[in-house]
Symmetry: C2
Subunit: 84 residues, 2 copies
């Protein structure tokens, strides 16, 4: 039971960045998106990924690879569109 | 070493929501903030919290309590300010 909750939790927190990435890509409205948040969050997720690799914990590696790609994409759009 | 990386990762991903909450509180600009993201993310973090409680894993409980409070606050502001 707790394993199911854990996998569902991981799936939700990972996939949640998809609608944000899509909204930002579509609207290019990044004024309300915090640069501080996505800088610190992306770095934190990269460290989670390193932690998972060190432990050989593949669920942590997989979930954080996807989250890193999505959060990194949002961070990149924030940096790019705030100038445009 | 890997424990240090893990705690640092947890601290960064947890605290990263502070600048977003502050920016949204200050500007009330929620157009670029995804309702889908904060709905799914807040639910996911609540499940992480339940998972931590089930396992008696207090670092998971602590980190996700703080993240739940911050993400829930951003979700609440998104719902409130989009009408205003």
């Amino acid at each position: 039971m707790h394993e199911l909750i854990g996998y569902l939790a991981a799936a939700l927190t990972t996939c949640s960045f998809l609608p944000q990435a899509w909204l930002t890509f579509r609207t290019r409205d990044v004024r309300g998106v915090s640069l501080g948040m996505y800088s610190v969050f992306t770095l934190g997720v990269a460290l989670w990924l390193a932690y998972g690799v060190m432990l050989g914990a593949w669920p942590i590696v997989l979930a954080n690879s996807v989250t890193l790609a999505l959060a990194g994409t949002i961070l990149g759009m924030k940096l790019r569109y705030r100038r445009g």
